[in-house]
């Protein structure tokens, strides 16, 4: 009985998407009975138990082994399976990420559970299983599906639930899971990560630039606008293909899919493959000099004009407003 939620951290604090997963787990625990247990692997700072408890965790398990900070798929999957076994949980919750795609899959096999991915809302109990709504065709459609099985692994998309505040702070219980040699067949020999930036898949606001920016030397303008909004920066596929920006900033069908509250597209025409990566954004602003750019049809607010004039004005207006 009960629910186990895997909590991913960033710089020692639970990620925003992980808090959503905890609140999702609480809703599942209310349906199936038992406790909603949050599991943190690797470094976590002191206040982690407060935010996890507030989001709805009845208990927080923490294995501080720094080996888990590497985010390796096999050891993480093993630890989660051990936690599932020890807690007797029959439902496991993940928030979708490049790590959790693989980990949720491995855990589902290890514990013999059904796997339901890309959920966009809390499911309903239906008979022995659940009625779920999940995003398919890269956000171009929604599927209503039935998931059967005594054990279910859920993976949720950003924004599937609002984080519930108000739960009591939890004092994490320290646990220790074993890592076998067979889990350590892949060795990280180098890690390259932009420090201090807002992570693109987690960001509440994203500012992206396209070919209309004319070259990588003009990205300062995008970065200034992003800074004044507290946003992450992204780009279109041609921009990453030409090497103006790194691939992990490519937003679209074959890149990062984002679902922020606000998406600002500068100099991006809005090809269907780009739209597939942004269509779960709540509000979209498009700045483009071509009034016929298809992106305007998918936007909430549009400005037709030269990005090199509009973007600095936008940044100034934001600074004035704060």
């Amino acid at each position: 009985m009960g629910v186990l939620v895997f909590v991913e951290t960033e710089n020692g604090a639970p990620k925003g998407s992980a808090l959503e997963a905890v609140s999702f787990g609480k809703a599942i625990a209310d349906m199936v009975g038992g406790e909603n247990v949050a599991l943190v692997l690797g470094s976590m700072d002191g206040s982690g138990g407060d935010s996890l408890g507030s989001a709805g965790a009845d208990k927080v398990l923490h294995d501080p082994n720094q080996e888990y900070d590497k985010g390796l798929i096999a050891p993480t999957s093993s630890a989660i399976s051990q936690a599932v076994e020890a807690s007797g949980a029959d439902h496991v919750v993940f928030s979708k990420s490049s790590l959790s795609d693989s980990v949720a899959a491995r855990v589902s096999i290890k514990i013999g559970a059904s796997l339901a991915t890309n959920l966009v809302s809390v499911p309903q109990k239906a008979g022995d299983g659940f009625q779920v709504r999940r995003s398919i065709f890269t956000g171009k459609a929604i599927e209503n599906a039935e998931v059967s099985g005594d054990k279910v692994v859920f993976s949720i998309k950003k924004g599937a639930v609002e984080v519930q505040g108000g739960g009591g702070a939890q004092n994490p219980e320290t646990v220790s899971y074993s890592i076998s040699d067979s889990d350590l067949k892949a060795n990280i020999i180098g890690s390259h990560k932009a420090e201090g930036d807002v992570l693109l898949p987690e960001a509440d606001i994203v500012v992206s630039g396209g070919r209309g920016m004319k070259g990588p030397e003009n990205w300062g303008m995008i970065e200034d606008l992003a800074k004044s909004l507290g946003a992450a920066t992204g780009c279109s596929k041609p921009v990453s293909d030409m090497g103006w920006r790194p691939h992990h900033e490519h937003v679209g069908q074959t890149g990062v899919k984002v679902g922020p509250n606000l998406y600002v597209a500068v100099g991006i025409s809005g090809a269907i493959q780009h739209l597939a990566g942004v269509n779960s954004s709540k509000v979209i602003v498009v700045i483009n000099k071509d009034p016929e750019a298809p992106f305007f049809k998918a936007a909430d607010y549009g400005v037709v004009g030269d990005a090199f004039e509009i973007v600095p004005k936008f940044t100034e207006a934001l600074k004035g407003a704060n």
Partner: protein
Amino acid sequence: MNILVCISHVPDTTTKIKFSPDNKELDKQGVQFVIGPYDDFALARAVELKEQIPGSKVTALNVGKAETEPTIRKALAIGADDAIRVNAHPGDSLFVATQIHEVIKNGEYDLVMMGRETSDYNTGAVHGMVAEMLGWPGLSPVMKLEINGSSVSLQREIEGGHEDIETQLPLVAGCQEPIAEWKIPNMRGIMSARTKPLEVREPVPSDAKVKSGSYELPSERSECRMIDPENVGELVDLLKSEAKVI
């Protein structure tokens, strides 16, 4: 070295998705089906590896009904040496992973490659399931992959960057760009694809645990409100007071 590349058969990424009037199935009218875009990167890299490593062979695998054969032939035209089709509707990730696992168990593969996810159901789960069933390392999303003997050097994307990883064969890799450039089949490839072996196997029993009920399209956005470029301040006001997102 034997490489197995698992390919999905999906609507082209430019497709405007529509459903039948009862919303029970995809409206395939006018839809062009292609090799999944991520699988296409995996296939391209597999063919490059074959060219680099003497004595290598690339087998393409698809789980699908006979309608997927043109897609499989395209994989052969791009450079796969032979192909296997497991004759079944690809029910859910577990069903597909079970079929792929069966093929690997009955073969001698050193490297299994596929896309990081399919572009229809986006589960991103099949490579992880297959790796777990085999007890092999599985890595995804892989952006670079080099083979040296039985050693593998690869680059995996992480949020906000990437990491360099060293591991050993056998391996399951979920791939994405820029692992290789997509390959466009040339005339000789297309001609030779017609005669390359395409074996059809029946599926092993496995129950899909996720069953589709109905489909729907996301709600349309309201009309775009145009802002005077001379008055960008208005945009800031609207984002604050109307949209309430800043």
